[in-house]
Symmetry: C7
Subunit: 95 residues, 7 copies
Amino acid sequence: MKLVPLGDRVVLKQLVAEETTKSGIVLPGQNKEKPQQAEVIAVGPGGVVDGKEVKMEVKVGDQVIYSKYAGTDVKLDDEEYIVVKQSDILAVIEA
Amino acid sequence: MKLVPLGDRVVLKQLVAEETTKSGIVLPGQNKEKPQQAEVIAVGPGGVVDGKEVKMEVKVGDQVIYSKYAGTDVKLDDEEYIVVKQSDILAVIEA
Amino acid sequence: MKLVPLGDRVVLKQLVAEETTKSGIVLPGQNKEKPQQAEVIAVGPGGVVDGKEVKMEVKVGDQVIYSKYAGTDVKLDDEEYIVVKQSDILAVIEA
Amino acid sequence: MKLVPLGDRVVLKQLVAEETTKSGIVLPGQNKEKPQQAEVIAVGPGGVVDGKEVKMEVKVGDQVIYSKYAGTDVKLDDEEYIVVKQSDILAVIEA
Amino acid sequence: MKLVPLGDRVVLKQLVAEETTKSGIVLPGQNKEKPQQAEVIAVGPGGVVDGKEVKMEVKVGDQVIYSKYAGTDVKLDDEEYIVVKQSDILAVIEA
Amino acid sequence: MKLVPLGDRVVLKQLVAEETTKSGIVLPGQNKEKPQQAEVIAVGPGGVVDGKEVKMEVKVGDQVIYSKYAGTDVKLDDEEYIVVKQSDILAVIEA
Amino acid sequence: MKLVPLGDRVVLKQLVAEETTKSGIVLPGQNKEKPQQAEVIAVGPGGVVDGKEVKMEVKVGDQVIYSKYAGTDVKLDDEEYIVVKQSDILAVIEA
């Protein structure tokens, strides 16, 4: 099963926070604040949304920073996703 | 009797949460959070809604994810439905 | 006396909740939640409302479902009515 | 002195609630809820209000139902009036 | 010094409440509620305000009724004025 | 260093409240309420702001009255300024 | 890694508050209020944002004053940034 977002919506998958010490030991559960980095999993078609033309600027695979309180958590096949509007994506992270 | 939604409204029927263990035993009453998956039962005609042209993108039979706090619960002939605006539908689930 | 609604307003008369057991005994006063089903009594002319063109889609005699917290209760000649905007009508019930 | 409303405003005079028993005895002070019926005393010119064209639909002498919490109470020459926007008038009462 | 209002703003001077008994004795301090009658002292040029064309309808010297909670109190040369937007003026009082 | 405001913003410098008695003695600290008079220090270019064309009407050196709760206090080189949108300026004071 | 802002967003890096006495001694930790001065690190492309054309006016390297409560804090590679909309930038500081 996969999620096909409508309008200007984007499906994100939160990146696992890098909770690893320099020596390589993973320290789970320390990252209390919800990380805002996520990967784009699916992108809606854009078009006229709420009477306004929206052009989609992000693409599948983009690493993005999204607004802390935005979006809806969705669980599908035991995977958790966040569905946001593109306007809740602040920036793309380029390597 | 059937519900014919007006404007950009969509009638949804919540999917029964799959509360079944791997061995096939149904565990009712465990899913406390309201599931956000629903099936589209009827779709409004769209057109000009609140001064803005809305094109309907979902169709009867679609499995959809909708916004957690959206919509109005409606009971008709002892069946419960949720009437939402299409903009409250986040994504279609494709098999 | 009759109510002639202005703009995109619609006058509704709440349907008496069918509080009848299968054997036909009426059980008044059990339906605590305000029923959302109503009949359309009068329909405004539509036209430009708040700067937006509104086309009236419901007609007198329609059975409708309306938004739970919408509308204004009005008493005229000891009859109670609800005046709503058409956008507060969610769906028409077809037999 | 008279009130000449601006824009889409309408001056109303609340109708005295008909607190009369069938035998003709007036029972003052029983009508605790503010009656929503009023007579139109003066009508603004309409035109462009807040950037939107408003056409006045009510006329002096109309009996109207207006929205319960709308309007501003105004006292002039010991007479009390309510000044509302036309959009706060729900319906005209026709005899 | 004088106040020259910008845009759709209007400078008002509150009328002294007529706290005089029929025999002509002035009873100061009895009028606890802020009177809503005022005289227009200066009128802004109108024009495009917040993206909307506003035509000024009141003129200097008009006696007006304004919305109870509107406007900003301004003190200049020990005189107190109220600066309101024209849309906060409900009606002009004609003699 | 100087502040160059963007869009429809205006940099103001609050006028020192004239806390001087008639005999010329300055009484500092008595003026508890924040004075609303200010001098225009810099004016943004105007243009399209939030999708609306804004024409700047004030100029550097103008004495203005601004809305009591508007604007952002800014400190630069130990001088305090207020940055407001032009629409928060109520009136220009002319001598 | 670098942040590439979308739409009308701007990535800022807060300037270290100049907590230095005149004799040159740095006094860290005294500046309790969050400084509003920042340097522009990256500028979105502008274009149509929420249905309105936005032209970017700031450029990388600009020293700016931004609205106190605006923006989202973002941490990337142990550096902290603030992502704001251009409309939250009040003024550019020119030397």
